[in-house]
């Protein structure tokens, strides 16, 4: 029995159930402050159309969708089964032991995810509900994206806000909220702005990356800082295009129509929270496979010794641009979420301080460590929001950076590699303990 719970099949089924339940709750009806669990239970009991055939509870619909998805995944896995015997398991037991994740860790992740799902039904204070979306979840997305650039590829990017701004402005553009008409005079949903904004942010990342990523270290930081400023100045001064310092007109809320599945995000922050949470989980999964892939190892190789990496045929520029584009895409995506949720954007959001703020989250959590960055975002942003919500005597919002600065200095003294550093970064930063890890 114990074997079953740790078997890959059980993990896959568990993951599928969790995913389907998350989507069900995400798209389900929102609760209200007087009945905090109503949205949660309603997500499963509400009667909806079963693929347009007959009415059924949402729980049944999503169970059917889950089975369908599980079937597809199982077929895909079967096909993926390589004809070569599981050679790695036989010949590299040590390596396998190192790479194997402990089942305890999986339980932890599930528990954290469950807490995250239930949280908005427990925390009903409107300030915190709104902060959980716009200040914590979206910042976590941004930090995970910046971590790819700074943590994985080792490129110091001080203009990350530029891609975030591009995502937000593209959303405003395609939904018709800017002075310039939407492309082809055809206004689309904020939800479908996601792919458009990601593409635009990636293009911007590549355009900025190709000429500048030949630079190293400080020089790159200066150029990216400049790029961030340029975008902000554009947003401020191109009045006829961006609306200048007054910002955009009202951006419509997210809505999603696909066949019989239909959902409209309104003023309530909770559905946005679930949407963002879903994407945070998705990005976590994607980026952690990326980290442990050939691409991730190429980034480490370039970061540790570019000359040696190049002598193995690794093209440093290609991989750096790739990291830049991936980081830009996630920032662009976060921009869409912000635009859709706050229904208004103006250049005053997109400042250098914002880029620095995201960088603080990454450094605090531990560069290169995905879980560390998530924890860093949660901790730092919660502290910031707490200070703003219940300010100590004489506290002004602009004082926030004094506190963050002090926090960062304390971190650099006591835990220079971050709260939860990646194994590799720890090795890079403390060579003295290397012998202990050797077997």
């Amino acid at each position: 029995m114990k074997n079953f719970f740790t078997s890959p099949l059980a993990k896959r089924i568990g993951a599928m159930v969790a995913l389907v339940a998350t989507i069900a709750v995400m798209t389900g009806p929102p609760g209200d402050p007087t009945h905090p669990m109503a949205g949660f239970t309603g997500s499963f009991t509400e009667r909806v159309s079963f693929f347009g055939l007959f009415p059924a509870p949402r729980g049944v619909l999503f169970a059917a969708l889950g089975l369908l998805a599980a079937g597809v995944v199982l077929m895909y896995r079967r096909q993926a089964q390589p004809s070569v015997a599981k050679l790695r398991d036989k010949v590299v037991p040590q390596y396998h032991a190192l790479a194997a994740k402990k089942p305890v860790r999986g339980l932890w992740y599930t528990a954290v995810l469950l807490v995250a799902i239930v949280l908005p039904h427990v925390v009903t204070d409107p300030f915190w509900q709104s902060a959980m979306v716009s200040q914590i979840a979206i910042y976590t997305l941004l930090a995970i994206g910046l971590n790819v650039v700074v943590g994985f590829a080792g490129l110091l990017d001080l203009g990350f806000v530029a891609f975030y701004a591009i995502g937000a402005y593209v959303t405003a553009w395609v939904t018709g909220a800017l002075p310039v008409p939407a492309p082809f005079h055809h206004v689309i949903d904020a939800f479908w702005a996601i792919p458009v904004a990601i593409v635009f942010a990636m293009i911007a990342g590549v355009l900025l990356g190709v000429p500048t990523l030949r630079l190293r270290g400080d020089y790159l930081a200066i150029v990216t800082l400049g790029f961030g400023e340029i975008i902000t100045i554009f947003a401020n001064n191109l009045y006829g295009i961006t609306g200048g310092s007054t910002g955009s007109k009202q951006i419509p809320h997210f809505s999603f129509h696909l066949g019989s599945l239909k959902y409209l995000w309104g003023l309530d922050p909770v559905p946005y929270y679930y949407l963002t949470l879903g994407f945070v989980v998705l990005f976590l999964l994607i980026f952690s496979s990326l980290e442990h892939s050939r691409v991730g190892r190429a980034w480490v190789a370039i970061r540790e010794d570019e000359v040696a990496a190049e002598s193995l045929g690794v093209n440093p520029l290609k991989y750096k641009v790739m990291a830049f584009a991936i980081g830009a895409a996630s920032a662009g995506f976060a921009g869409v979420m912000t635009a859709g949720q706050s229904f208004f954007i103006s250049p005053s959001t997109f400042t250098l301080a914002f880029s620095i703020n995201i960088l603080v989250l990454v450094i605090f959590g531990g560069m290169g460590s995905i879980m560390g960055v998530v924890i860093g975002s949660l901790v730092v942003q919660t502290i910031s929001m707490y200070l703003i919500h219940t300010p100590p005597a004489g506290f002004q919002n602009s004082d926030l950076y004094i506190y963050l600065g002090a926090l960062l200095i304390a971190m650099m003294i006591f835990r220079p590699a971050g709260i939860w550093p990646s194994k590799r970064r720890r090795r890079e930063m403390t060579p003295a303990t290397l012998e202990g890890e050797a077997q």
């Binding site: 892939s293 000359v307 002598s311």
Partner: protein, 269 residues
């Protein structure tokens, strides 16, 4: 005789007013163990860096031909481009990826020449997993080949010098090269490690069919290993021949061997 692997013609490399390589012409024949020797500052490493695309000589031509039908003009090509054409190298001061384990170091070499697949890497598709497994097998094979399988999981910066040298060779071989360039592979190793290394280099050529070009100060190692040598002095080739011919060449004895012997004595102290 087929076309040579490396065909170097009249190469001159200058750094400002300093001429590092002066009209160097040499050829590396397929399958041979070729050595370049010369006193310190003779331009050996400059030659290596020119052959691998790190430096860009102002004059002359360098042609690398992997299989006798795909000549590649090296000058002006980026180092990674030359590497993927089939040139692997090691460095004078060994350059590992310090925070990676020995296994990961070799694996990075094994997968560097495979396709792009960033989407595959994100979703761990079947092709990606097959490639991962193939790289694992190859990395393991090579670690076993150089005798480091027991240290597969050791972080490379905590390996001893001799092991690092062998690891660097394994990592280079992982890219499936046609030629392996070794920049002073025996530097900093002890006598028993030197014997092992000589054996290993010979096995690389005999068992893997990879041609070898090496720079080395240790005359005993060079003379027992190399089939042909070039002698550089002040950036120019002053002699070429078999070990026996080089030993008997008066110009070489004057320029290099005498000085090297003195150097060896100093080292041995």
């Amino acid at each position: 005789m087929t076309t040579p692997l490396y065909d170097v013609k009249n190469v001159t490399l200058r750094f400002g007013g300093v001429t590092s390589l002066n009209n160097v012409t040499m050829e590396h024949r397929r399958g041979e163990i070729l050595a370049v020797i010369g006193p310190n500052g003779a331009g050996k490493t400059s030659l290596f860096n020119s052959l691998t695309g790190v430096y860009r000589p102002q004059e002359g031509s360098i042609t690398f031909d992997r299989d006798g039908s795909t000549p590649l003009s090296v000058i002006g090509k980026k180092a990674h481009r030359v590497a993927s054409a089939g040139v692997a190298r090691t460095f004078q001061a060994s350059r590992m990826f310090p925070a990676m384990t020995a296994f990961e170091n070799v694996k990075t070499g094994a997968e560097s020449h495979r396709g792009f697949g960033v989407i595959g890497a994100m979703v761990k598709g079947p092709a990606t997993r097959r490639a991962e497994r193939a790289s694992d097998e190859r990395a393991w094979e090579l670690l076993t080949f150089v005798g480091l399988e027991k240290q597969a999981n050791v972080v490379s910066s905590s390996l001893n010098y001799g092991a690092r040298r062998r690891l660097e060779i394994a990592r280079g071989l992982a890219t499936n090269p046609t030629v392996l360039l070794l920049d002073e592979p025996a530097a900093g190793t002890n006598p028993s490690e030197k014997v092992e290394l000589t054996e290993l280099i010979r096995r690389v050529r005999d068992e893997m069919g990879v041609s070898i070009l090496l720079i080395e100060h240790d005359m005993k190692l060079v003379m027992s290993l190399a089939e042909r040598l070039y002698v550089l002095n002040f950036g120019s080739v002053i002699a070429e021949g078999t070990p026996d011919e080089i030993r008997a060449n008066p110009a070489v004895i004057e320029a290099y061997l005498g000085a090297a012997d003195a150097g060896d004595e100093k080292e041995g102290r």
